[in-house]
Amino acid sequence: MLNTILEHLTGMDQMTDQVIAMDFLVNAKSGVRNYAMAVTECATPEVKAVLEKQLEEAIDTHERISAYMIDRGWYHPHLVNEQIRLDLQNIETAVGLPS
C-alpha cells in the first residue's frame, strides 16, 4: 500500500518537473514576444533601454529552458514524430488526472 503511494508520488514528481518546465518554456516564449511588442511601442529612450535589456534577458532565459528540456528529452524540435508521441502521452496524463 505504502509502496504504491510512494510509486505514485515519485511518478508524479517526474511529471511535476516536466509540467513546470513546460509551463516555464511557454512563459519564456510569451515573455520574448511580449517584450518585442513593448520595445516597438517605445519612444522614450529611458523606457526603451530598460525593455531592450529585459528582452535580451528573456531571450537568454528562453535559450536556457529550451536547452534544458531538449537535454531531458521533453522537447524534440528535430524529431516531429517523437514530439507528437510525447504530446499524446502528455494529453492522456492531463486528461486522466482526477479533478
Binding site: A67, I70, D71, P77, H78, V80
Partner: protein, 87 residues
C-alpha cells in the same frame, strides 16, 4: 545534446518566413526610394536596402541547412505568363 546535420522543421519554416519578409522589405525600400521627396528618409531606406541584403545573405546561409533544401535552378523553370507561351 546530439548534433543534427540539418535544422529542425519549425525553425526552418520560421527562416522561410524571415527570408521572404526581408526580401519584400528590400524590394519595397528600394522601390520607395524612387518616390520619396525627403532626402533623409531616402538615406534611411538605402541603409535598410544594404542591411536587408546583408541579412538575406546570413539567412540564406542558415536556410541552406533546412531538411527540405534542394538545388536551385538558375531560372524559373515554368513560363511566367500563359500556358506554354500562349496568352
Amino acid at each position: 545534446m546530439t548534433a543534427f546535420p540539418s535544422l529542425a522543421p519549425h525553425e526552418s519554416l520560421e527562416l522561410h518566413e524571415a527570408l521572404n519578409f526581408k526580401t519584400l522589405c528590400l524590394a519595397k525600400s528600394k522601390l520607395m526610394q524612387g518616390l520619396v521627396f525627403d532626402q533623409e528618409l531616402k538615406a534611411l531606406m538605402q541603409k535598410d536596402v544594404e542591411q536587408s541584403a546583408q541579412a538575406i545573405a546570413e539567412l540564406q546561409t542558415v536556410y541552406a541547412k533546412a531538411p527540405f533544401q534542394a538545388p536551385v535552378p538558375p531560372n524559373r523553370p515554368t513560363p511566367i505568363v500563359g500556358e506554354g507561351g500562349s496568352v
